[in-house]
Amino acid sequence: MKPPLFTYHDPRSVPDALKLLASLDNAKVLAGGQSLMPMLNMRLVLPDHVIDINEIAGLSGIEVRGNDLYIGAMTRQRDLEFSPIVREHCPLLHEALTNVGHRQTRNRGTFGGSLCHLDPAAEQPTVAMAMDAVVIAESAKGKREIPIRDFCQGTMTTAIAPDELMIGARLPLWPKGHGFAFVEFSRRHGDFAMAGAAILMTVNTAGKIERASVTLCGVGSGPARLAKAEQALVGSAGGQQVFAAAAQAATEIEAQGDVHASPEYRSHLARVLTERALAIAFNRATVKR
């Protein structure tokens, strides 16, 4: 079990990487390597060229820009996990990250790598979906911004073109004191989630939900927003019955089955976890106001 033959490139700048992407056929970008390397070791992917972007300066970084949290594509998951900026402005992402793999994989794994790999169970694309993130991609022809709903095109399929490189993402921030919760279920801490739910919520002084974002991971083909649940929540005063009713929307996603969990079980988990996460998010929002 060894990686197949390929030619290795380690460009030192984004323009150099883009030149390689524009000229080489069957090239794969190597970011943190925590998904691509297993796939190479098992020969599930057979690239002719591997473009390692670890030596490019300036592709990582975490900063608040206006009302957005900007995250560079090569920002390591561990740096996000321990970032005071993320903790303060984007607690949902912090909570999600503690479920991403293990310490050893978060030390190498990157935010952009997770988005571009787009595993259906992945936490970071789920947070990006929950927050209506915008992905910034660049090719030799120029830069473009891709809303996350267009970015996610299906199982492990993104809108990134073969000659494009993800540069970073903008996550529009929610107001201070918003409620949040990331809840997932896996057999071992850090394993792929069989199902998970990411919630964002604002509650007004009258105790009514003003705005809600409900996203599932690990159930369907990728991160899935539950518009129906969001509509059911907005304007309500929360409570167990409201959350249980809203969480029913989770069962409308066509669940995938595999050796880890049947579609029925995933559907069940999705509903239960959504309900739990809603209660946590609501309590956190209420407490802070």
Partner: protein, 164 residues
């Protein structure tokens, strides 16, 4: 034609220069090229944690890095953990005392993982230790001895009776 690169790495304080095939994983490079066979290779896809080493002080799975990516980096493998006189360090001693290993296959990964963990969190709870080693599979101990060893090592390191 294999794609070759010259690299220089420092492993356990010793500098090595080699020409390697670019598709060589770091784990295979350490074992086959440098003959440092303390780093074990289990699953080769990042699940078992046996090949965990420290890269510039941070734990990483050496099966999920290419050897060329270690160019210019400082690596610590299990061979580099013992005291300078070759005696077991605090953590290794705790493993021995608390039956933290049986067959020993997972041990290099457990030790390197816990070396980083105890450095960052000198006073961990049992739950924190369990989460820290959640990415390392052990098929012998049931983890209890490993958790006990980590907690004992943490206690001794805090008391400062012996240095790491």
């Amino acid at each position: 034609m294999p794609d070759m690169r010259k690299i220089a790495v420092t492993v356990n304080g010793k500098r090595y220069e080699r020409e390697v095939e670019t598709r060589y994983t770091l784990a295979d490079f350490l074992r086959h090229e440098l003959r440092l066979t303390g780093t074990h290779v289990g699953c080769e896809h990042g699940v078992c944690g046996a090949c965990t080493i420290l890269v510039n002080g941070h734990s990483a799975r050496s099966c999920l890095m290419l050897a060329v990516q270690a160019n210019g980096k400082e690596l610590t493998t299990v061979e580099g953990l013992a005291n300078p006189d070759g005696s077991l360090n605090v953590l290794q001693n705790a493993f021995w005392e608390k039956h933290g290993l049986q067959c020993g296959f997972c041990t290099p990964g457990m030790l390197t993982t816990l070396t980083e963990f105890l450095r960052d969190n000198p006073n961990p709870t049992e739950q924190e230790v369990r989460i820290a080693i959640s990415g390392n599979l052990c098929r012998c101990t049931g983890y209890q001895g490993i958790v006990d060893a980590a907690l004992l090592a943490a206690e001794r390191l805090r008391e400062g009776k012996v240095s790491a």
